[in-house]
Symmetry: C2
Subunit: 314 residues, 2 copies
Amino acid sequence: MSILVVGSVAFDTVETPHGKVENVLAGAATYFALAASYFTKVRIVGVVGEDFGAEQEAIFLNRGIDISGIERAPGRSFHWKGEYTGSMNEARTLDTQLNVFAEFEPKIPAQYQDSEYLFLANIDPRLQLRVRQQMPKVKMVCGDTMNYWIADHAAPLAEVLKELDVLLINDGEARMLAGVHNLVKAAEAIIAMGPKSLVIKHGEHGATAFFGENSFTGAHKLSRPFRAPTLPLAELVDPTGAGDSFAGGFYGYIASQPELTPAVFRRALFYGGVMGSFACERFGTDRTARLTRSEIEERFEIFKEISHLEHQPA
Amino acid sequence: MSILVVGSVAFDTVETPHGKVENVLAGAATYFALAASYFTKVRIVGVVGEDFGAEQEAIFLNRGIDISGIERAPGRSFHWKGEYTGSMNEARTLDTQLNVFAEFEPKIPAQYQDSEYLFLANIDPRLQLRVRQQMPKVKMVCGDTMNYWIADHAAPLAEVLKELDVLLINDGEARMLAGVHNLVKAAEAIIAMGPKSLVIKHGEHGATAFFGENSFTGAHKLSRPFRAPTLPLAELVDPTGAGDSFAGGFYGYIASQPELTPAVFRRALFYGGVMGSFACERFGTDRTARLTRSEIEERFEIFKEISHLEHQPA
């Protein structure tokens, strides 16, 4: 089944204690698409400038990702510059140049209309809504957002939340959105805003999923949360894109399955963690663009090994 | 098998957003002993003052805990006063009165000499060492420490670490002890200091165990870490004692088993999380002192349900 992702395709300049890269392919839609591409067909809607060339195209095309929906505009692509220091839990933004992204107005190509799964990456909730309206027949909608939209664009974001099957955000965003510190209470409040399910990402401490009444297809029910681990990494080279890669692994796996059952959701969370852990191991898309499915399955087994009581190491 | 715990038996005055209690029975050894008592026989060595009476004794005796090693001294018991606000991740200490604890010199009674499992709760590492020396024949030694000893009493603490089968500390303590932020690297550094295994507690995000070469009895080996969940709680009434209750559940379960295998260690981490989660649900020892083994088993199943891919909710 095809996933359509709408979001940023960008260039990043990133410095971490492990080194520095300049103007490497990045952006939420990029990380998401690459991670999801190991599980299902992926299509992108985004906008790039004249600096997006054959080298960047190849990274997508090598993974079989359909980039016919990436609009080319005069000027430069979105550029972000940031650094990670100390705990590396959060990036410090040094520079943001929206460039062609400032005027981005997503248009869904005719050949993408049969996409059954829609992912609204972190962009202006007004754009997320307009994308959703162009895709009335999708089977499932997942989305992301960030503190900027939560703080200053609450009204359109509230409309987006009503459209979501799953919202994926981090601890800080969940607390900010709900206005309450306790994550269980925050999750209840957020699910009351519209999303059928909520995945809260805890960075190095894994992720927790909370389920509303209609989280699953069919008669499946699950009332308790579910906690997925992450792999403790000795070398966190570059956490940029880890959250989007998590979303890509999570949603890619769901889209590859016939039905959204509790068992599928759980495994999807593990695949999310797996793809997020790979993303941190190299700068930019270096690791996520060059994986094999067997490397992914191997790490999935490691995730089971480090979290399951009865699992026997191979 | 009997566990001997040496540590503080105290009175706490605690305020949280959920209310306030004054002069309730507390202390690391108390929480540890109560939690461990559901799994195995527990003996305590500590010191109390004249304010420790029949009411406090009953809390231990109702759980079958041997308190003949609790020394009675003239004066008042150790009193701690603290509050939790905001995230409730860390207590703010308002007052500490060591009282009889200031002169505490642990003496192991003859009838405790056959204890096979020793737990050195968070006290002066010099006392931890002297206790260890009085118990040369124990089968296993676990211990705790805190930032105060790590920062200002590094030399005796280094000696204690060499004696430990398992060290149980939290994220902040692990980072401080190792002098490195990354928890995998911190764990490697700490295990090189002596403990065969290390359990790092992440508060609301569970715990991770790291294993050295000789972590297990027999020929068992386990090189990867293991991550145990916690139960997401909507009402964190009072986190005081959660870490000691975790240690009690963890070590109590180990002491109840014939051999320390990887499977036993994993289950012990889950029981640790279970006992820690109960401790947070009421003030003081209210919840931990009044559990049943079936409530504990029920919650253990919930821990499996929220962390295992294939687990079917009952």
